[in-house]
Each structure stands twice: as C-alpha cells, then as structure tokens.
Amino acid sequence: MTQEGSYYQRDRAWHPPAFTPQYKTSVLRSPQRPLLSLENTLSELTGPVFGHGRLGPLDNDLITNYAHGGEAIGQRLVVHGRVLDENGRGLPGVLVEFWQANAGGRYRHHKEGYRAALDPNFGGCGRYITDPDGGYHFRTIKPGAYPWPNRVNDWRPAHIHFSVFGHAFAQRLVTQMYFEGDPMIWQCPIVATIPDRRAIEQLIAALDRNNTTPMDSLAYKFDIVLRGRRSTFFENRPEGN
C-alpha cells in the first residue's frame, strides 16, 4: 500500500463544459445544477484490475481482428504512446480501448447514416493493457473524416476514440485522438467544446517518422495523462482512507 492520498482536483476549465450549444446534442444532455464536490473516498480511490489473461493476441490489431478473408483496407498505421499520471509516472495495467471509423469514414453500427462503404474486414475496435512502463501500441488503418448531423454540413476530422481505465474510478477518462496537420480539427464543433487551444493540442498525435515501419506502416505517437495522486507527508490516515 503506497502512502498516497486523494487524486488532484480535476481542472474543469481544461475539460469541455457540459453545455456547449455549438454541439447541439449537448443541449439536452448537460446537467444544469452544479456538481456536488466530493473528496475521494475508497469508492473513488479503488478500481478493478484488468489481467493480461483476458485479452487475445489480436486485440490490438484492427487490421486483422475482424478479418473475413482479407485485411482491412487503408493507410496502415501504428499508434503508440504511454499512459502517464500528472506526476509523469508511467501507469502499468491500464485498460486502453479504442474504436474508430474505417478508411472511408464509415462505422460498423446500425445507426450509421453515411454512404461510404463498409469494409468487410474492418470491425473498428481494439484494446490493450499497458506495459510496466505505461506503454501501449496498436495497429490499425487511418480512419476517414465523416459527416455528422449537427449543423447543416458538419464533418468530423479523422480521429480515434479512446477509453482509459486507470487504477481508480477517479481516473476514468474517455477522449479522442486527432492527427497532426489535419486542418479539419479547427473546424469541428466537438473539438471546439474544449475552451483552451493548448488542451486541444494535447489531443493531436504527432507523426512519429522515426517509428514508421519501412514498406509497411506510418506511426503516430499519442501519450495520455490521467489524474495524479497527492503525497501524504505528515497526515494520520484514518482507517479506510
């Protein structure tokens, strides 16, 4: 048991607020009362352990994990990075899940209304449990941009969705990764829910030229930061905290 206290207070100004009318769906889905502040109890300081035994060998390979007689079509990519806490420490054993559209920008989903074709060999989901240093990696194809019902003609920049489950429920995070150099990032109402440009830049993965695989894949690097924990220097820790 490490002598660590509660998680650092979340900087709500760095995250998007709940009510963002330029993203129309948020209007009826945003709580209007102030959140009730709750210092971490055991219920927030704890979280499940995800054993490596629960994953299969293709779970982090979106090019082949839905193969129906071939490989997924598209620009081949390796996406890699580390999951860190705010103190800069790599976090092992973190469940990282990712999902995305295919190379044409089409999701495999019954509610999808975009006319781009499905890829019979692309499911669009993958997962990884971070290494002892917090590292993760997966193989995929570059997702296409796609139109979505918001304003009359809005398009999402190419992106990969991430769900990250750290060591405690207090660290639970869902976000999206964008690609360096994409001009559509700055036109997107969902990206623009984040008020601070530096925070948006934290979601843009860098083209990692050094880690491209010759005659095979481009590489992008995307580090993810979860909340860090306070050190408890002189505190008497009551039972259960």
């Binding site: 900087d11 995250h15 998007p16 709940a18 993203y23 769906t25 948020s26 009826l28 889905r29 945003s30 709580p31 209007q32 009362r33 959140l35 009730l36 709750l38 109890t41 055991l42 219920s43 927030e44 300081l45 704890t46 499940p48 352990v49 995800f50 629960r54 994953l55 779970d59 705010e86 899940e97 999902w99 999701y107 495999r108 989903h109 509610k111 999808e112 499911g123 989901c125 969705h161 769900s163 429920f169 207090a170 639970r172 995070l173 869902v174 976000t175 999206q176 990206v191 829910t193 925070a199 948006i200 934290q202 979601l203 993810i224 930061v225 979860l226 860090g228 039972e239 259960g240 905290n241």
Partner: protein, 208 residues
C-alpha cells in the same frame, strides 16, 4: 523565475460519441468474433457471496426521452464492504466478485440492467460508515465529460439518513434522485435507478 513543478495536465475529455458501444460492448451491437465476451458484461458467478439483486434504469434527457446510445458502468464493494482492488487497505475482497460492471443501454428502450449483489458498507474518510452504495458512471453522445453519480438503496432508510455524502446535499429534496426504490415483485429483487440529466428531477452528479 522559480523552480518548475513538472506537473502534467490531464488529457482533456471528449464525448464518447454515438458509437461508444463499438469499442466497449461490441458483442452487444452484433460485432461478433473480435472478442469472446464484453468486459464487465457478467458480474456474478455461482460462487459469488451475497444477496442477488438486479439494478435497472434509464438515462433520460432534458426532453424526457431515454438515451439509446449511452454506456453505463458501475463499481461497488463486495457483500462485506470490501473493494476488489489493490488500493483496498482493509482486507481481501471476495475473489469471486470483481465489482465492476458495464452495459450498453438497450438500443430501443434505453434500459440498462445489471445482475449483481448488494454491497456492504464502506467507511468515509473520517471513519464514519457510508450507507451501502454503487458508484455509477455514464458516457454518451452529447455528454462532453463522463458523469459520476451514486446509487443508494431504498430499503436502507436508516443508513441513508446518516450517510456523510447524502448529508452534504443542501437541497434535501434532491437526495431522492440517488435512492433506488426496491421492487420485491421480481426474483431477485429489482432496484430501479433512472438517471435524469436535466430538469426538475435532475440527478445529483459528483465532482470527484
């Protein structure tokens, strides 16, 4: 100039979008064969200790409509009040109960359903016992950052009245938004927990 603290900023949240089920519960939306089972879809085995219960509910928007694209996760202690987590300092939890569940809401009705056990009590930071509760987390299209709330049990009136978290809610009329009534007509009994994102019945959400 002063020394630098070298603190990183937390990665900002983005909405889970309408297709969160592709990544979290692919088998529930007919993306079969990528993995055998969806993580968190089954919480119990025959060996799990504790009183069997079912938790059902919907996530309802400001127009009174249930969301059909939400993802709900729950996290709870075992029947003895211990969390199955390395961060649990008080003892070892039931090894047949992880305590974490995850469900896609139904694509037509918006209902979620967890088959689990009733948790024991867990202490607050100052040592007082909290009433039995389940931590609930909701993401969906239109929700920019995941929402944290708690389910308390309708048949725990005495414990709820002394719960240090519920006592902090100044508008006492809002406590009811966190208390799930028990329906004994089903076997096992069902606790119904509807989550209102907005409006006069808006659920109490927490900044943890």
């Amino acid at each position: 100039m002063v020394q630098r603290l070298d603190i990183l900023k937390e990665t900002p949240s983005q909405t889970a979008g309408p297709y969160v089920h592709i990544g979290a519960t692919p088998n529930a939306i007919d993306i079969a064969g990528v993995w055998q089972t969806d993580l968190g879809s089954v919480m119990l085995t025959a060996e799990t200790t504790g009183e069997r219960i079912v938790v059902k509910g919907r996530v309802i928007d400001g127009a009174g409509r249930p969301l059909t694209d939400a993802l709900v996760e729950i996290w709870q202690a075992d029947a003895a009040g211990l969390y199955n987590s390395p961060q649990e300092p008080r003892g070892t939890a039931d090894r047949h109960f992880v305590g974490w569940g995850r469900q896609a809401v139904d694509r037509d009705t918006g209902e979620f359903c967890f088959a689990t056990i009733k948790p024991g009590s867990v202490p607050f930071g100052d040592g007082r016992l909290m009433a039995p509760h389940i931590t609930v987390w909701i993401v969906a299209r239109g929700i920019n950052i995941g929402l944290h709330t708690r389910l308390y049990f309708g048949d725990e009136a005495v414990a709820n009245a002394g719960d240090p978290v519920l006592l902090r809610i100044e508008d006492r009329s809002r406590i009811a938004t966190l208390v799930a009534p028990k329906d004994l007509s089903t076997d096992p009994p069902t606790y119904r927990f509807d989550i209102h994102l907005q409006g006069p019945q808006e659920t109490v959400f927490f900044d943890i």
